[in-house]
């Protein structure tokens, strides 16, 4: 794990300053850090703890409780595959295998080139278009491995803006 940069520390301090007075500030703080850096680096835990006057254990406990927060730097594109029932009914189990094979990684892993990180998700609310996946902030439906290949191709070719 590489240490975070001085610029990152500056960013984090600003975010802490911005959010610390909110009632129940911890989740908004964690979201803002992950939105900026792509993950919540372990180095920030003591920084958050001292800002909120809580113990590092408490902060770590919250981060580890929620599936959404990543503690390792993810690839450029976070890909989430829906594993819930509606998507299962239309073949997500097969799709899941195909995608893992295509990227040659398992869940919570990043491809060697640093481009993709794969995560499971239980429901994207796109159940009328199962199976569904999410890449960045965009949700795609009626997915199959051919469409997935096209999406990857588009990501590589056009550097699609994902926000």
């Amino acid at each position: 794990m590489s240490a975070i940069s001085t610029a990152d520390i500056h960013t984090i301090n600003n975010l802490l300053e911005q959010h610390k007075t909110l009632p129940g500030a911890l989740l908004p703080i964690l979201h803002s850090i992950q939105d900026q850096l792509g993950y919540v680096p372990p180095e920030v835990v003591p920084m958050i703890a001292s800002t909120l006057n809580q113990s590092s254990a408490e902060i770590h406990g919250v981060i580890s409780f929620y599936h959404h927060f990543l503690t390792h730097k993810p690839g450029q594109n976070k890909i989430s595959i829906c594993l819930a029932e509606s998507c299962q009914a239309l073949g997500s189990t097969g799709l899941e295998k195909d995608i893992k094979q295509r990227l040659n990684i398992d869940y919570h892993q990043t491809t060697k080139d640093g481009k993709y990180t794969l995560e499971p998700v239980y429901c994207l609310g796109n159940c009328a278009c199962s199976p569904a996946i999410r890449i960045g902030e965009k949700i795609y439906g009626e997915m199959d491995i051919n469409k997935f290949d096209e999406l990857l191709e588009a990501l590589v070719t056009y550097k699609v803006e994902l926000t």
Binding site: P23, L26, H68, E85, Q88, A89, G125, N126
Partner: protein, 540 residues
């Protein structure tokens, strides 16, 4: 959008709903914009609306005509120029994608849209458009009534929590009203985690102002001045739309220190969840809002008495809160006149999974699934026989065809050991292995349990193990019988001893799969439940 301009110009509608976007509605909208730029003499406004709920027809394009809105779908970008050349604003035509008047489509005609009345009709972010369609009428009425009078209207409507637990909303509000406190809260549970459900999302993306209005009315009713919408992080589009809607409502004086000049105060904020299914449970949600692990609290005290930050708190689902404005504008009695038995009003049913025509229908209670699955849903998307439907999310029962005629009603579903939950219906064809689905129910509980109580935390792990033993091809009948009684005992423990519905209801899908589909577990029908007369379909 300029409202006077919009009423003169021809209007064309393309949805910005997540499902519509996932089917390519953005590219269609872009193509329409490009087309219109090249036709400067055409006075046309493109409106981005919510979805009508006919998701299989998305991207759906609607044109406003003298007869009403005419729908085309599913439209691809390359169809755009072709459709415009058919003079779509002058009425029906025989373009191959022309579906006719939207309101006359069977899917729309079947419904009683009360809560979703404006979804798909209006521009979700246009306050003027909202008001033109009866928006804020409920709020105006509420502002002229006493808190107790508002609560009485909601009680009279018979509205019950649409998140799944079906607790009477008016009674919850009464408790908060009766609990004195300097600070009270309205919390909207928008952590719609059940697979097969998307009603909350569709409403928040298609008519966010009705949710804001419902929360305002709740605030006036119980004396709360701060509201939070706890939204799941899996809904980026709803997040964007809600925040924009809140900003606009603030700017227009509907939120803030002086609501509509009444001197009353209400502030509203969206807070994002972080991918924990359990945070849909109200006490776990409150812990999460307070910035803690989403661990379930023991009840009592009820959140209505000691909720967020220890203060009296109304926690209601999106659909419950969004149903309040029409109750206040048309009266509790109007709402109560829909429905049957103790299930009053309407419920949005969501058809999902393996079905030809998936989407959302808002219906008065009382219809049966049969009427939805074949006629409207069009059977399985894979053209295979339908074998099972799971109703009410991952903690709901798997129902066999013999139960599909059960009326959509909370009590009728309880009689068959099933739940309506949040109204999600996930359809499976005859290739489904119900033992795999039962195992998944336990597995899901392993992943999503908050870990506070033992029956859920450990029970789910043991559940996966014992289902694996039960379905082990090398097991003999004696070993299977043993695994089966162990599984039944485990289900009893989870049901009776878990702290919340997560562990308490995980046995529902497991037991229903066992009861209706014993052959999938390698069991003979009689071995499971001597009372069951169901003939197992062995055609798979």
């Amino acid at each position: 959008m300029n409202s006077t301009c919009a009423s003169i110009a021809n209007r064309v509608f393309v949805s910005l709903d997540t499902s519509a976007l996932s089917k390519g509605s953005e590219a269609v909208a872009e193509r329409i914009q490009q087309y219109l730029i090249k036709q400067p003499d055409m006075d046309v406004t493109l409106v981005r609306n919510g979805t009508r709920g006919m998701v299989w027809l998305e991207p759906l394009v609607e044109f406003e005509t003298a007869q009403g809105r005419i729908a085309y779908g599913p439209v691809k970008p390359e169809d755009v120029a072709d459709i415009f050349q058919q003079q779509p604003f002058s009425g029906l035509n025989n373009h191959r994608l022309c579906l006719g008047l939207t309101d006359n489509l069977p899917w729309m005609k079947k419904q009683q849209r009360l809560t979703f009345a404006r979804v798909g009709l209006i521009d979700p972010l246009d306050i003027e458009d909202y008001i033109r369609h009866d928006g804020f009428t409920g709020l105006k009425n509420a502002l002229s009534q006493s808190p107790q009078a508002i609560v009485l209207q909601v009680k009279e409507s018979g509205l019950r929590g649409r998140g799944g637990a079906a607790f009477p909303t008016g009674i919850k509000w009464q408790t908060v009203l009766d609990t004195p406190s300097e600070q009270k809260y309205i919390v909207c549970n928008a952590d719609e985690g059940d697979s097969g459900t998307f009603a909350d999302r569709m409403l928040m993306e298609g008519d966010p102002l009705v949710l804001i209005e419902g929360m305002l009315i709740a605030g006036l009713a119980v004396g709360a001045t701060q509201g939070y919408i706890y939204l799941r992080s899996e809904y980026p589009q709803a997040h964007k739309i809600l925040n924009m809607a809140i900003n606009r409502a603030e700017a227009a004086g509907y939120l803030g220190d002086n609501i509509c000049g009444s001197g009353k105060r209400f502030a509203l904020e969206v807070r994002l969840g972080a991918g924990a299914y359990i945070c849909g449970e109200e006490t776990s949600l409150l812990e999460s809002l307070e910035g803690k692990r989403g661990v379930v609290r023991a009840k009592p005290p009820l959140p209505a008495i000691e909720g967020l930050f220890g203060q009296p708190t109304v926690v209601n689902n999106v659909i419950s809160l969004a149903s309040v404005p029409i109750i206040l504008s048309r009266g509790g009695e109007f709402y109560r006149d829909f429905g049957i038995g103790r299930s009053r009003g309407t419920i949005p049913m969501q058809l999902a999974g393996n079905i030809s025509r998936p989407g959302l229908l808002e219906l008065a209670f009382g219809l049966s699934l049969d009427e939805l699955l074949e006629d409207l849903g069009g059977g399985c998307k894979t053209n295979r026989p339908m074998r099972s439907v799971q109703v009410g999310g991952p903690l709901g029962a798997y129902l066999a065809p013999e139960h599909w005629s059960t009326p959509i009603d909370y009590e009728e579903f309880a009689k068959i050991n099933a739940v309506l939950g949040h109204g999600g219906v996930v359809v499976f064809d005859d290739t489904v292995d119900m033992a795999v689905q039962a195992r998944f129910a336990m597995e899901f509980c392993v992943v999503e349990s908050c870990g506070k109580c033992t029956p859920c935390r450990i029970g789910a792990v043991r559940g996966v193990e014992v289902i694996d033993k039960l379905t082990d091809v090398h097991a003999d009948q004696g070993q299977r019988q043993q695994s089966l009684s162990l599984l039944n005992e485990l289900c009893d423990t989870m049901e009776l001893a878990s702290l919340c519905a997560m562990g308490g209801m995980t046995p529902i899908p497991v037991r229903s799969a066992l009861k209706y589909y014993p052959a999938d577990f390698g069991l003979a029908p009689l071995l499971v439940d001597p009372r069951s007369t169901h003939q197992e379909n062995t055609s798979k």
